[in-house]
Symmetry: D2
Subunit: 307 residues, 4 copies
């Protein structure tokens, strides 16, 4: 099993849409490990608390590394991407969060369109280390990093890097963290892994839409599971399995995630469909990833002790 | 501080709608404790796994004890209901869960109306003790009881016992458990506390709509907070505070809960509004109560270490 | 067939919630006609364009006349309420519309909660006659009056007069106009008809939440249809039939309305279920009543030429 | 002004996703007319009522002609596409509608995921002429053709042909009919017009998801409006203007459409924002395009007499 590096220089231009139309920047074998230099969601252009997002941000957000081509991956397979580690990189203050006009969970947006005046723009630049994020003199937020956006390529569409859907994408789900493995569907030859948007911490829902964004060295190992056709992303931790749904409205995320989890329990753990439905009613867990992106994201999980 | 008993006999008829139109069954002073004999959500009529819900259930579900009149409570106040203990009562198998036709999270309902055939009806009768619920030979579900439905009276409306809203109601939120305190708005003189529908355990979302329902002895202490006008229910545990929103679609639950939590942080903990918004984005927690009732329920919380 | 008058004096106090807990103000026989003096949705307290809604409006909005008891009506029946005529009454400017803070279709509300500042309050007082509403020097809006809120009583709940649901209520659907008949379910003995909130005109969706409100003399004829169990309101015009759904989110209104219409076509017009589904796909019509009330309202209809 | 032909042969392969990644099949000057041979939404593979959609349909649906490159079109411009005529073509029965499993407005889908069994599959093959569609011996549905899917290219994304959004796409809005003009945003050089999916008739909402699909000769004239930046599609008829929103949930479609219409009234017709908001509340019209596609579609309009 080889270990590859995918530096910013190797990447030579990030992608802001995720699809089959770009050339791979790296080809790997199943089981290989890749160390990826990710940029923050704003590609580093918010450098000071005096920067106004509306002035410094362009149309293209959430830069993605990739695509990484996985040898042997074909439609109908799945990729198992294990997150080995995530480490902050770059000069301090390397963390950024901000309120962006007409974006976020408690404001009118281009979709939930209203006539109200937008909220003010605000930027926080933050020192981030593996010891945590210095929020202010009183508060240090523990360093609990995860990959905000990770996907395979859709078959023919190219989905904006801000949007989560069946291919993964901008799920903003804290469970995609070191120690866990995310399963993504392969829709085209080579699968095409894209990733970026690592967060140093994030609350459930990513309330105003911007977590503690930071550039990282992120190490993943990519395995190939032949002939495992999954419709939505799935995730496995030491002690639970999780299915992930991303659409609108939010109840449909929960429906998708729980239904997919039932199917997983039936297919791989021998459960009767109704038994799974009735047990999840009593012991299922729900994690809200985001309530701000073009699709919302919910993960539904069950502890392995019940499987 | 007196301790009262509210037995089934005292209750002398449960209520299936929550409003100002019934006479109190008990009058208490602020600070008093009440031991309540609650029935299960089906009032005990599902006695065997051969019972079909569609045949044994009538129009009236989710029987509520109360109303309990609290001396001195006036519109603009809040009640603080501390859950002291919940203990199962009645003969075994005292636990019930079931799949009810056209009700639940993964089926067409009277609201999400479709032409698909309904799911099958299924009943499980379960032995429940404080050691847990015997689900089957392999699985015992820990006893983690909570009050599924608790409310004050709306001002002029009478809300079905199945519906959660600003007055509390059928939130099905596991955080309403022993050790925690729920705050409810007072809309009429005496406040009128109604409660029932205790669950021996429940997963997030209460997936098919029926948790492990069981009759209980539930002990609460009711305090009065003068001149604390709250719009939605709030909850306090040893280590966090939570605001609770119940509407449809589900994203609006999250919006309500987080917005109310921000207002709470501003009013009572000295936070600046935007500071609270930005901090919750990084450390806020979301709990999905139900995804099945006429309104869905989400609680948004923050750990007290951040306050 | 008798004709009754229900004046403001007879009414002697309006209702702001619709349920079984009030005494009838009038008892009629099936087939009787009633002339009702309705108030506007603000009970006339907005008298000038200088009035601020937030200052002059109290908690109780949308005053309802009734309840009217219909002899012989029992649970499982339906009432057929034919709207005979609606005429403006009272001194000019008798028409009112206004922007109310945190209410309406293009603003954050208590349900779609946000942190944005509310929109400004604005009031228009308007001259309304049967020739139209004088909007300004250039625009006269045709007088197309209808009943904004009409309902029977729910069985045990009392639903706020602002909320539409299975019992009818605040549907704000322009099809409830003279010449048409609305069918409402009977849930309690006597049915209990409540009505009010007549509009001189209204666009689809009632965008900011307040149509051209005005006091009226509204004449209805109430017939009783024995043993016709309907779950949602239905409506009949000379040339079409319509089913009406009121919930959130809006797609569920459309689902309810179309599903109910299919059932109506099957039960009363001999349609095969799938034939009805496929035909409505090609010729069904949808009318958006409101996009602002606690539940939204959609009517789905089919022209009688297809029946 | 030239007239071009875009035959199936010229097209030489349809597109099932709409974006900037394909080469233009035709280059035109602003003001030119194009006669397009469109296929039906199933590319003609449903040939008999015995065909099962699940067996004959592949992954790629809704074939699109194009892209058509418009000289001089640049980001920030708009295209004005006037629909000159739509005529049915091909051998009878040239019309097709069908119920597709897990697709449609009254069934569980991959997004509104449920455990119910899917509805049956059913196909109708129909004779379509300009005199109408022969539905059965009793019913002929008038020929009211329109373009179901028409779009410009998004800037970097490639959106599935089944999805409507800011670029237009699968709006299924009957107002896109001969005599009317649709305005679409230009996001890339040349604009890239894609179109297909013409319907011989369709009810509001396109209830089960498949209108009367048919191959056509569709003639459009494409004009270029420099420096008119529009965010969502707009449409103009002889007697009204309309803004079009496509997202989920459905209320957000209505919000987008009405908000955009207000902005149009302000920018081009001299309206004050609040005046427009208040007037639309009284005279605005709403048309439901689809309630079945990945995004729903609503058009909000105002009659020109009010402008």
């Amino acid at each position: 099993m080889a270990t590859h590096k995918l530096t910013e220089e190797d990447q030579d231009g990030f992608h802001y849409t995720v699809g089959p139309y770009f050339d791979p920047v790296l080809e790997i074998e199943p089981g290989d490990t890749v160390e990826v230099e990710t940029e923050d969601a704003f590609e580093g252009v918010i450098e000071s608390e005096n920067d106004k997002p509306s002035e410094v941000l362009g149309d293209n957000l959430n830069p993605q590394n990739g695509p990484i081509y996985v040898e042997g991956a074909e439609e109908g397979d799945a990729l198992a991407v294990s997150i080995e580690s995530i480490e902050p990189r770059g000069p301090q203050p390397r963390g950024t969060t901000c309120m962006i006009a007409e974006f976020g969970g408690l404001t009118a947006t281009d979709r939930t369109a209203m006539l109200n005046e937008p909220l003010p723009e605000k930027v926080k630049k933050l020192d981030v280390t593996t010891d945590g994020t210095i929020w202010n003199d009183d508060i240090t937020i523990p360093y609990e990093p995860f990959i905000g956006t990770i996907s395979t390529s859709p078959k023919i569409d190219s989905v904006n890097a801000l949007t989560p859907f069946k291919h993964g994408g901008n799920m903003d789900l804290p469970n995609v963290r070191p120690g866990n493995t995310i399963y993504l569907p392969v829709n085209i030859e080579g699968g095409y892994v894209y990733l970026g948007d690592c967060h140093a911490a994030q609350g459930d829902g990513e309330l105003h839409g911007v977590a503690i964004e930071h550039p990282t060295n992120t190490t993943i190992t990519v395995d190939l599971i032949k002939d495992w056709e999954i419709e939505w992303p799935r995730l496995e931790a030491d002690d639970y399995i999780m299915s992930i749904g991303s659409v609108r409205p939010m109840e449909d995320c929960a429906r998708i995630a729980y239904k997919d989890l039932i199917e997983w329990m039936v297919d791989d753990y021998g459960y009767d469909k109704w038994e799974a439905y009735m047990l999840l009613t009593q012991v299922g867990n729900v994690r809200l990833g985001n309530m701000v992106d073009p699709n919302y994201t919910i993960g539904a999980s069950i502890d392995k002790e019940y499987l």
